[in-house]
């Protein structure tokens, strides 16, 4: 009984994200003309997965009390790169995928180096690197175009057994193979510790640098996976500045919705995934309600505001005002 309560306390943020997503998705599906069908779920999953990858990347960095404003641009850069090299037979395609993911990882590693060893503020360092990554993307693809191995793309964006979206399966595999090992590694523990209280972590002999560096590096890898999936969905590469910026900003909204504290030390990438799906649903919901496109950005903002407020409802019950600041 008491073990259960501690578990609940540990997972509160992630569960809040899940609840917000479920509530919004239920409202969306209930008002969708087609209802709860494999098609609707498939479309929603494919849209959500891109932001989910970027949000996971953001969550890793935010846990260290940093922020990565280049995640969206890493997605754009890897998208442009993939549209050149993820083509051909099995061997060239595999090498291409590996090169795309390595590029994402390298971008993350550069962010980490600047923040940890260059001692730059994360917000400034990643604005700068984000601009560089976008610049590279633009050089790769001055105009939209390119192609991708369509067999691989269709396999990863289609459905397994006719019902389960394979993009969701891929996302789950990444959680199992990247996030969970990270969370349970010494580096992951160090990332949380550094985010929660860096002086205390230092005094305890925690490998702070290794932890933070791993977070930025894996963040780059995850954003690169997002870029790869973007290519699989669109079959092309495009250096779209607005799209990159939007992914960056929405990734921050998603981690907050998913219960990751912007002060660091609290939350999980799984919560960020739920947050990403919830954030995506805010847009879809307006389609389901058939809202005039002119009104959509405004209403989407309001829906997002309401969703974020749900996570803060607990503050209303606070009877000791000092708890507001914790």
């Amino acid at each position: 009984m008491s073990e259960w309560r501690y578990w609940l306390n540990e997972q509160r943020g992630t569960l809040t994200g899940l609840v917000i997503f479920l509530v919004m998705f239920t409202v969306y599906v209930a008002n969708h003309p087609a209802g709860f069908t494999a098609n609707v779920v498939h479309t929603a999953a494919n849209k959500g997965v891109l932001l989910a990858f970027v949000a996971m990347a953001q969550a890793l960095v935010v846990i260290t009390a940093g922020i990565d404003l280049s995640v969206g641009m890493i997605l754009v850069l890897t998208n442009c790169l993939a549209s050149w090299i993820v083509v051909g037979g099995v061997m060239p395609t595999s090498l291409g995928v590996a090169a795309v993911l390595a590029t994402g990882t390298l971008c993350g590693a550069i962010n980490g180096m600047l923040v940890i060893y260059g001692r730059l503020q994360p917000i400034v360092a990643t604005i700068a690197t984000g601009a560089v990554y976008f610049g590279l993307a633009l050089l790769l693809r001055p105009f939209p175009g390119g192609s991708v191995n369509e067999d691989l793309a269709d396999a990863l964006t289609g459905r397994l057994f006719g019902v389960v979206p394979s993009s969701l399966v891929a996302l789950a595999a990444v959680v199992l193979l990247v996030w969970l090992p990270f969370k349970r590694s010494v580096a992951g523990r160090a990332a949380y510790a550094a985010g929660s209280s860096e002086p205390a972590a230092f005094m305890s002999g925690v490998p702070i640098r290794r932890g933070k560096f791993a977070a930025y590096l894996l963040g780059g890898l995850l954003a690169g996976m997002g870029g790869l999936f973007l290519t699989f969905f669109t079959y092309t590469g495009e250096a779209a500045y607005a799209s990159g910026s939007a992914y960056t900003l929405w990734s921050i909204a998603a981690v907050v919705l998913g219960g990751v504290s912007l002060y660091g030390g609290r939350g999980s990438a799984v919560g960020a995934i739920f947050g990403a799906f919830a954030a995506r649903t805010t847009g879809d919901m307006l389609f389901a309600f058939d809202v005039d496109p002119l009104w959509q950005p405004l209403l989407q903002g309001i829906v997002l505001m309401i969703a974020v407020s749900i996570g803060s409802l607990a503050l209303l019950r606070v009877r000791n005002r000092l708890d507001w600041f914790q």
Partner: protein
């Protein structure tokens, strides 16, 4: 010489001629220290005497400018806390080194988590945590609880368990008992004595003389960065030791109490009637007259802190009423509480989070609470600010390199003075103090006691919560003892004795005690 001979002739750890400067300040000068295995070695000294620097050097947090350290007769250099920890030196820091968002078990195993296949083995970690907690006598703490949800005393026990879990050869405790309850202190002492008989070397830093008298085998006194004396415990009187620490004669710690008599017919400055909050404060009624110092006593966590927060408008949904000068006052926020004519001030428990903005300057910190008094039309009157600040720095004898240094660079005692000065700038009539002398040195404590008395004589009404019984006895006109959110006893004048305080804190039948106020 063979290794065995070296071990026989030299102590486990030796510090030779170690010096450390911070800018122009000499924190430690030519310090020598021998630490023997199987001994408890007490380090005494005022804040700023160099104790913290000494420990930081031993723990690998800072590197010494000069001198060397020997471990087992071999020269030892610690480049990081991790290196010192690997060499078998563990610290229980006064500034807690726990990570708030991680669980108790995560924290206990943080320096060296058990791994399987490259990942942290949570089951093994849990076992380590449970064993360490049991060793520290803190089985009541659940290994999965988040550290930030634990009260201060429990966190300090986790800190001790964490140090024990690393199986150190030298254990350093820096004010490790300052937030503990009496029961915990007894448990920790038993643990420490057990460790001593296992052959560990313990360095024990404390401001509490009776703790040192009970524990220590050897004492070393530091003053102004130098070790001024080392002697066997029990060979000097408390008075002599304190004189070594402060370098001047030690007498009359507590200023004399004025005979206090309320003017008949005049309403008390502060009055509480049946104050309640949730189930944590119940039916509390008391009054504080002009010039009175009313103490709050009892075990830690019996509602004393909450009572002060309730009075200061921090808690929502309190029942009962608060009267100021006989007029009902509904105080809904600290901003309302401090506004004249109420003019309340609260000196908080945790100066680092609730009292000060550490990275900001002494000047800025001092003016924060009084901005409305020194500003005209929203613009700060620099001349007036300067003058008020000068008065305060002089009144409280705040030792700082300048008004424009970050307040975080000051010693603990001086930081606390800044917190108090910041509120005194508002000339408060009602002063609430939440354990203001925790972890500060004798000299500063003495100054604070005199200050409290002066403020009371000038007409302030003071509510003073302290975990130190001597302070309650020495400073207060009356003491309310709280237990489980209620006032169980009110002691007055000569009735305030250690015996009465402890008995009522434990809520033992008053009749058995005889002295009834």
């Amino acid at each position: 010489m063979t290794t065995a001979e070296i071990q026989a002739t030299s102590p486990l750890f030796r510090m030779e001629g170690v010096s450390k400067r911070y800018g122009g300040v000499r924190a430690l000068e030519n310090a020598h220290l021998d630490v023997e295995a199987g001994h408890i070695h007490a380090i005494l000294g005022e804040n700023g005497a160099g104790k913290s620097t000494l420990i930081k050097i031993m723990a690998g947090v800072v590197a010494p400018d000069e001198g060397r350290m020997l471990l087992d007769g071999q020269e030892a250099v610690f480049r990081s806390p991790a290196a010192a920890s690997a060499a078998g030196i563990a610290c229980v820091f006064q500034e807690l080194s726990l990570i708030p968002d991680l669980s108790v078990a995560d924290n206990i195993a943080i320096s060296n988590p058990p791994c399987r296949f490259g990942l942290i083995d949570r089951r093994a970690q849990r076992a380590i945590a449970e064993e360490a907690l049991a060793r520290a006598g803190a089985e009541d703490i659940h290994p999965r609880a988040a550290v930030k949800d634990l009260p201060l005393s429990r966190r300090q026990m986790v800190e001790i368990a964490k140090a024990l879990a690393s199986r150190p050869r030298i254990l350093i405790l820096d004010e490790a008992t300052s937030a503990l309850t009496a029961g915990d202190v007894a448990k920790v002492f038993a643990v420490l004595k057990g460790l001593r008989s296992e052959g560990l070397a313990l360095l024990y830093i404390s401001h509490r003389m009776h703790e040192i008298a009970e524990l220590a085998d050897t004492c070393t006194v530091f003053r102004n960065g130098r070790n001024v004396a080392s002697f066997c415990a029990g060979t000097r009187t408390n008075g002599e030791v304190v004189e070594m620490m402060i370098g001047r004669e030690y007498s009359n710690v507590f200023p004399p109490r004025q005979q206090h008599s309320a003017e008949p017919g005049k309403a008390p400055v502060l009055e509480c009637r049946n104050l309640g909050w949730s189930d944590r404060l119940r039916d509390i009624s008391f009054s504080v007259g002009e010039g009175e110092v009313v103490g709050l006593g009892g075990l830690e966590g019996q509602g004393q802190r909450l009572l002060l927060l309730a009075l200061f408008g921090v808690l929502r949904g309190t029942s009962g009423s608060v009267l100021i000068d006989g007029q009902p006052a509904a105080i809904r926020s600290p901003a309302e509480a401090r506004r004249p004519p109420r003019s309340m001030a609260l000196i908080p428990e945790d100066r680092k989070t609730e009292g000060l903005m550490l990275p900001m300057t002494v000047r800025e910190n001092l003016s924060f609470a009084a901005l409305d008094r020194i500003a005209r039309g929203g613009v700060i009157d620099r001349g007036k600010e300067e003058q008020l600040i000068d008065d305060m720095v002089r009144l409280l004898e705040i030792k700082t390199a300048g008004l424009d240094v970050p307040v975080g660079a000051l010693s603990g005692g001086n930081q606390q003075k800044v917190v108090i000065a910041k509120w005194l700038m508002r000339e408060p009539r009602i002063i609430l103090l939440n354990d203001p002398t925790r972890g500060i040195d004798v000299g500063t404590k003495q100054e604070l006691y005199r200050l409290l008395r002066r403020l009371a004589e000038a007409g302030a009404a003071i509510v003073f919560y302290s975990t130190d019984y001597d302070e309650l006895i020495g400073c207060c006109d009356r003491v309310l003892v709280l237990y489980d959110g209620r006032v169980v006893r009110e002691l007055e004048g000569d009735g305030i004795t250690e015996r009465a305080l402890i008995a009522s804190a434990l809520n033992v039948e008053a009749a058995q005690e005889g002295t009834v106020a």
